[in-house]
């Protein structure tokens, strides 16, 4: 795996991935709530 050497770009890509995972988690919690109620 080639490693990105620009710290700003590494942080940016980490933030994007973390943000996407958090968004997915919120959606999952919403879906779990619906599934539990059905």
């Amino acid at each position: 795996m080639t490693r990105e050497t620009d710290p700003a770009r590494v942080r940016r890509s980490r933030n994007i991935v973390l943000g996407s995972l958090l968004a997915a988690f919120v959606i999952l919690v919403f879906l779990i709530s619906l599934a539990k109620m059905s």
């Binding site: 795996m1 590494v10 890509s13 980490r14 973390l18 999952l28 619906l34």
Partner: protein, 308 residues
């Protein structure tokens, strides 16, 4: 790891933050694929169905929990990994990540997966997930692996948990069938791992890990591979014999396990011919052992949906 939480030498001077792909690599994605698969099979083979969203959540928790345990394993073994060819390219030995970051990441996703499993699925499944994480990260990695050549036998239990958790997530209770699935993986692990340890023996010897071939010698390891393969044959057909699975599974298990035994006999009854030995039978047994587990569990699920 020998020093408590101290950063790896090269990681101490990190200027670039760890890439997200390094965190992903910490979770051992290849091992995780087997965990997801066996967990899913346990869930699908269970006699009760749960909502697809909850089923997805249960598998996600099993996968993330396994990833957390793998991250803790790499945090603890960073110095050992640096010495072995097979593991030297991992993020910690390469100095691409701070050691404490790996530990915190492992703890965070482990705790998160257990909590989510408990809140969304069941606290029994969450409890077993928590036990499996502690079993792998503490009992196996920290305690047994550096101390006893039986490390793989007992540590194999950690990998045997996913189908049990999947089953419990679906049914809410522990019964004989998921315990049998646990036992199959438990008895499959030693021949699977010792076949690998036979052809990467020099690496383990170099870092002082008491793997069976290093401590007891190759001959003893080969005999023990054979013993476990012999035990696996009746054990794998037991779910059919006890009525927990159908004829399709029974026939598949018999054929797959007989082939496993045949390959193990070849490994068990031979000796290394010399330094030029390519260890082909051992490599074949290791490769087949992975296929064996995939196909056996797939057969269990197919059998569940077959109108036989």
């Amino acid at each position: 790891m020998r020093s408590s939480g101290a950063p790896a030498s090269s990681a101490g001077a990190l200027h670039v933050p760890a890439d997200w792909r390094d965190f992903f690599a910490l979770t051992k994605p290849r091992v995780m694929s087997l965990v997801i698969f066996t967990g899913l099979c346990g869930l699908l083979a269970a006699p009760e169905r749960i909502h697809p969203v909850l089923a997805f959540t249960a598998i996600l928790c099993i996968a993330v929990g396994a990833g957390g345990a793998a991250a803790l394993n790499q945090w603890w073994e960073a110095d050992i990994d640096a010495e072995m060819k097979r593991t030297a390219a991992r993020p910690l030995p390469q100095g691409r990540m701070n050691r404490t970051d790996a530990r915190d990441f492992g703890v965070a996703i482990s705790v998160g997966s257990v909590l989510l499993m408990g809140l969304a699925i069941s606290w029994l499944a969450a409890g077993i997930l928590a036990i499996s994480i502690v079993y792998y990260a503490v009992v196996y990695t920290i305690w047994l692996k550096p101390r006893t050549p039986q490390n793989i036998v007992i540590g194999g239990g950690a990998g045997a948990f996913p189908p049990l958790i999947g089953w419990v997530a679906a049914t809410g209770e522990i019964s004989l069938m998921p315990v049998l699935l646990f036992a199959i993986i438990f008895f499959w692990t030693p021949p699977h791992f010792w076949a690998l340890a036979l052809f990467v023996k020099t690496d383990y010897a170099k870092v002082g890990i008491p793997m069976m071939p290093v401590v007891a010698g190759e001959k003893s390891t080969r005999r023990q591979i054979l013993v476990y393969a012999l035990l696996l044959l009746p054990l794998s057909v037991l779910p059919w014999w006890l009525g927990g699975a159908g004829r399709f599974y029974g026939a598949s298990a018999a054929v797959l396990s007989l082939l496993f035994l045949a390959l193990s006999v070849r490994v068990g009854l031979r000796d290394r011919t010399g330094p030029e030995d390519t260890m082909r039978p051992e490599k074949q047994l290791f490769g087949y052992s992975v296929i064996y587990l995939f196909v056996l569990f797939a057969a269990l699920v197919v059998d569940r949906f077959l109108p036989l």
